[in-house]
């Protein structure tokens, strides 16, 4: 195989990945150990004097004289203290005392100086005046003559250094300990409940002989392609203080509860929202193990005389246990790194991911946010490592299975129970989504239930800014950005898969792993990394792409590339590698072989990975929320902001439009990928195929 062109391609992609994946992540690591400390007085003085020297002598004299004269008494006292300290003289009064007492004491101290000391004091006083109180005006006066770093140093009076202060803060500060405990408890409860429900649904669909398995799968999977936090605010619309059920049904109509005292904004609400949001991921993993493992084992157990509960306990459950563990780990990680749901419905229950969001967007404290990201990485990387280990063991256990469910009749009582449970889940999910649709046509939820189209119609003359900021117009921006990212991401990911599976130049495995990194690490990291790094890449402000559409495109692209890489590799492993060798003996170069032979065979995977990037471009929140700018707003971020600010009408209408767009994209994908005469296999694109690879992470 063309080793040279393969190596060249790997090198080029490696550079791109390094720039857009590795370096931003590295920037977060670096940011987390950045601390700012005050510059020592002597150095500050030297810096100030150097700056003063840049001024013309007569202008300098005039300015300094004016600055000394305009000091107020308190400032004069402070400059006096600094001057005494700079001269190596003792500050004789109590610096903690009240200001008026200190001012008197300072005047006295100056009067007590010896004449020689007094001369030195008078000479130093103007300099210290500038150092202590007029440094900032000086910096701005000289802005044109200083380079940015000097200007910043003079203005702020602090120096950036390295230290583990922020990392240590997580361990020492009590609020973080409470937040960490909250995150862990939430992850444990959410993952346990999610996997329990997902197992029941998957078992019902694969083994329960349901009359309508379709709606059950749809209900389990639809949150996957939904806009962010849709479940969270649908729950609020139903169970909040103005909730249709809590206030309307149970409160006003039946008088059973007092809606004012029913608080959904806490642990319970977050758990409910997360369980339904992450149900698809757990469902896919468990349905996979249930349908892959060989049903002949259950038949054998029954022939040995086992009851159905014994079969489940001794055969089905142990066989599917690796999947259950993987699902538990996966949901725990999703729960821990999710900040949308906790911020919308769990303001009374602070969690780590939410704290990161607050540190960045609320307090502008990037180093602390980066440090918290680092701590969030500990459990996520641990879980990835564990899941990988389980995956490896499972492959050994699965050798030789022929698959297919057992042809056994389920006991009627169990079957009935599963049917009823599945029905309830379907009904609840349907209720949530219908509520969102209803909410999008409702004037003000809870107050004025009259129907309106105002959340859909965008009239620039009437708009107060909210629509343009967070409403329907943003969907168009999202679509454009996702549509640019999708084809690039699709082809690039397959190219990486092809290099890793077929050409195998040195470093191909490392490339595939790099593509996977954004999936392993919490999503916020790539967002913060882009925010930090692309503000001034390698120190060059001119290269900054923050605030542009480009940063959103590359972020969506590289954060979701991994699905195509995993799906492409899986597809290539199934395909006969000899076709590629055949192309090469017939004279094809690596590029020709990829373009003419491999890519057409992977058409389905290509459509799939493009769709994944596109849909995620519309629904992603975790990274892009830090990257949107006044000129480039995304609909998913708009939904979140509206939901957080209780503008439910706009949140609902935008969500409905996003959902409709996603469904259109899916059916377009399905049409493009219609059963093809070419490959013979009936190819049908299904929603759940999208994250099959994603959940394999």
């Amino acid at each position: 195989m063309s080793r040279f062109s393969g190596g060249l391609a790997a090198l080029a992609i490696g550079i791109v990945f390094g720039l857009f994946i590795l370096v931003p992540i590295g920037a977060v690591l670096l940011e987390s150990v950045r601390v700012q400390r005050p510059v020592a007085p002597a150095e500050m003085r030297a810096r100030t004097v150097a700056a003063l020297d840049l001024m013309e002598a007569d202008r300098r004299a005039a300015v300094v004289t004016r600055w000394v004269q305009t000091l107020n008494p308190r400032q004069r006292m402070e400059v006096t203290a600094a001057t005494l300290a700079a001269l190596g003289l003792l500050v004789t009064w109590d610096r903690q005392a009240a200001f008026d007492e200190q001012i008197v004491a300072a005047t006295g101290a100056v009067e007590r100086l010896t004449p020689e000391q007094r001369t030195r004091f008078e000479a130093e006083f103007p300099v210290q005046t500038v150092v202590v109180h007029r440094r900032i005006p000086l910096a701005f006066q000289l802005r044109d003559r200083l380079d940015p770093a000097e200007f910043e140093a003079l203005r702020s009076g602090v120096r950036t250094g390295f230290g583990i202060d922020h990392l240590a803060a997580f361990l020492t500060e009590q609020r973080f300990q409470r937040i960490a405990r909250n995150s862990i408890l939430l992850a444990l409860v959410t993952s346990a409940l999610t996997v329990l429900i997902a197992y029941a649904l998957a078992y019902a669909v694969t083994r329960g002989d349901l009359r309508w398995p379709g709606p059950v799968r749809a209900a389990a999977l639809v949150p996957l392609v939904s806009p962010p936090v849709i479940i969270a605010f649908a729950i609020i619309l139903l169970f909040g203080r103005q909730g249709l059920i809590t206030k309307g049904l149970l409160g006003d109509m039946l008088g059973l509860v007092n809606p004012e005292q029913f608080n959904v904004y806490g642990f319970g609400g977050v758990v409910a929202a997360q369980v339904l949001s992450f149900l698809p991921h757990a469902y896919i993993v468990i349905e996979n193990v249930l349908s892959q493992h060989d049903g002949r084992l259950e038949e054998a157990a029954v022939s040995q005389g086992a009851t159905s509960s014994q079969v489940f306990r001794h055969v089905t459950l142990p066989m599917t246990m690796p999947g259950v563990t993987r699902a538990l780990l996966l949901v725990a990680i999703l729960s821990m790194t999710d900040f949308g749901n906790p911020l919308v419905i769990g303001r009374d229950y602070p969690v780590l991911a939410g704290a990161i969001y607050d540190e960045i967007l609320g307090f502008q404290n990037k180093p602390l946010a980066a440090a918290l990201c680092l701590w969030l990485m500990v459990p996520t990387i641990g879980a990835y490592w564990l899941a990988e280990r389980i995956g490896r063991r499972r492959r050994h256990a699965a050798v030789g299975g022929t698959g297919g469910p057992p042809e056994l009749l389920m006991e009627p009582a169990l079957r009935g129970a599963l049917s009823v449970f599945s029905g309830l889940v379907v009904a609840f999910v349907a209720l949530l989504y219908l509520t969102v649709v209803y909410g999008s046509f409702t004037r003000v939820w809870g107050i004025d239930f009259s129907l309106t189209l105002e959340h859909y119609l965008f009239d620039p003359s009437l708009d107060t800014g909210l629509q343009a900021e967070r409403g329907i117009p943003t969907v168009w921006t999202s679509i454009k950005i996702a549509a640019v990212a999708a084809p690039i991401g699709g082809v690039l990911s397959l190219l990486v898969a092809y290099l890793a599976e077929r050409v195998r130049p040195p470093g191909a495995e490392a490339l595939a792993f790099l593509a996977l990194l954004p999936a392993i690490l919490p999503g916020v990291i790539l967002g913060i990394g882009y925010l930090i790094f692309f503000n001034a890449p390698f120190g060059f402000v001119d290269l900054a792409i923050t605030g542009t559409a480009a940063i959103l495109i590359v972020n969506v692209l590289f954060a979701n590339l991994y699905v195509g890489v995993l799906a492409g590799r899986a597809a290539l492993q199934r395909l006969d590698a000899a076709t590629d060798e055949a192309a090469s003996v017939l004279g094809a170069t690596m590029v020709q072989s990829f373009r003419l032979v491999t890519l057409p065979m992977l058409r389905r995977t290509l459509v799939l990975s493009m769709l994944y990037v596109f849909i995620h471009g519309l629904t992603t929140l975790s990274a892009v929320i830090f990257l949107v700018s006044p000129d480039h707003k995304l609909a998913s971020v708009g939904v979140f902001l509206n939901a957080e600010a209780s503008h439910y009408g706009l949140a609902c209408s935008t969500s409905v439009v996003i959902l409709a767009t996603v469904l259109v994209a899916l059916s377009v994908g399905r049409a493009v990928d219609r059963p093809s005469r070419r490959t013979g296999v009936r190819q049908q694109l299904q929603v759940e195929a999208l994250p099959a690879a994603a959940t394999a992470r």
Binding site: M1, S2, V585, T589, T679
Partner: protein, 356 residues
């Protein structure tokens, strides 16, 4: 004219010497078969010729040109894969014309060449179909036509028949041989099936443990195997422990069998006598001079009957009789018989050349 030269080619995978110092010359227009059991290195050798695998040592020449450093696409070879490896997204026409499209031949020239090859491989009516719409045998012909399309210096075939039904397999043997012959191609064919090797090849190279143990025409390797392994691998052979006295008279378990050993083997007691079942004669006892035995079992195989004779030395002796001859003898399992090895076809090997 020598088309392909392998000189002292070696290749190891870890501790395993897959190909061990192999040398072979293939003349232009020749059809050479590499035959051997699984793991003997025959496929590795073929992939080294193709360039998919790089040899650790040795020289590889195609038309007198050193090619070890060249990529497969630069070697001008054709390769037919065990799994066919047809491009599923292209029609038969697309598959066969692929190499010519890569070489930017004008479309009429490509169409003409494809039509020519379709006619050659008798797949003209399938040209617009997709691979999954073809039977296994049809796919194999397409694969063959595709490999021949760019007029390769050498056609390499890696067990191309092993995925097919027994009957199609036999029909395709002659078919492939004739297509390759009419195309005037030079071919190296890999198989584990000795019948395929004998029936198709100009020359056969028998491989074992990474080495070529014998190269010769099918007749030579069949009738004059160089050692007991080849004798056993090509066809079926009885292997009997034998000894020769000072004058070269050979005895099996103390009884003379009418074979005389060469002077080199005279006086040795560690000999192996190989004799094919069709060269063992069988008769009712007392009719001719022979060695005694008893029929332990018989297998009816259509035109012949294979008889297992218990000769009292542990290993049985097999004899193939024409079925009508067997009927005429009117023997059954348990009958006492006399048997005799045809001295003309008995092969004698000393212990050290007898492999295993």
């Amino acid at each position: 004219m020598t088309r392909l030269s392998l000189r002292n080619i070696s290749k190891s995978f870890g501790d395993v010497r897959a190909v061990d110092n192999v040398s072979l010359e293939v003349a232009a227009g020749e059809f050479v078969t590499l035959v051997g059991g699984s793991g003997c290195g025959k496929t590795t050798l073929l992939r080294i010729v193709a360039g998919f695998t790089r040899p650790d040592a040795g020289e590889l020449l195609i038309d007198g040109r050193r090619v070890e450093a060249l990529a497969p696409r630069e070697r001008n070879i054709g390769f037919v894969f065990q799994s066919y490896a047809l491009f599923p997204t292209m029609t038969v026409r697309g598959n066969i014309g692929f190499a010519l499209r890569l070489r930017r031949r004008p479309k009429p020239a490509i169409d003409a060449r494809v039509d020519e090859l379709c006619a050659l491989a008798r797949i003209g009516e399938l040209a617009e179909r997709y691979p999954h719409e073809l039977s296994g045998g049809q796919q194999q012909r397409v694969a063959l036509a595709r490999a021949l399309a760019p007029n390769p210096s050498i056609l390499l075939l890696d067990e191309p028949l092993s995925a097919l039904d027994a009957k199609i397999r036999i029909a395709l043997r002659a078919e492939i041989r004739s297509i390759v012959g009419r195309a005037g191609a030079t071919a190296v064919f890999v198989t584990h099936d000795q019948e395929e090797a004998l029936s198709m090849s100009d020359r056969v190279a028998v491989m074992e443990r990474g080495q070529i143990v014998q190269v010769g025409t099918p007749m030579e390797v069949y009738f004059q195997p160089v050692d007991a392994f080849v004798a056993d691998f090509i066809g079926v052979s009885n292997r009997l422990s034998a000894r020769a006295d000072g004058e070269g008279k050979v005895t099996v378990s103390g009884r003379p069998i009418g074979v005389t050993a060469s002077t080199a083997l005279s006086g040795r007691s560690d000999l192996t006598l190989c004799i094919r079942p069709e060269h063992v004669a069988l008769d009712r006892p007392g009719i001719k001079c022979g060695l005694p035995g008893r029929i332990a079992a018989r297998t009816f195989m259509g035109e012949i009957v294979r008889v297992e004779i218990d000769v009292g030395i542990g290993t049985p002796v097999f004899a193939d009789l024409m079925s009508d001859r067997w009927m005429a003898l009117d023997l059954e399992v348990g009958s006492d018989v006399e048997w005799r090895a045809d001295p003309m076809h008995a092969r004698l090997f000393s212990g050290e050349t007898a492999v295993r």
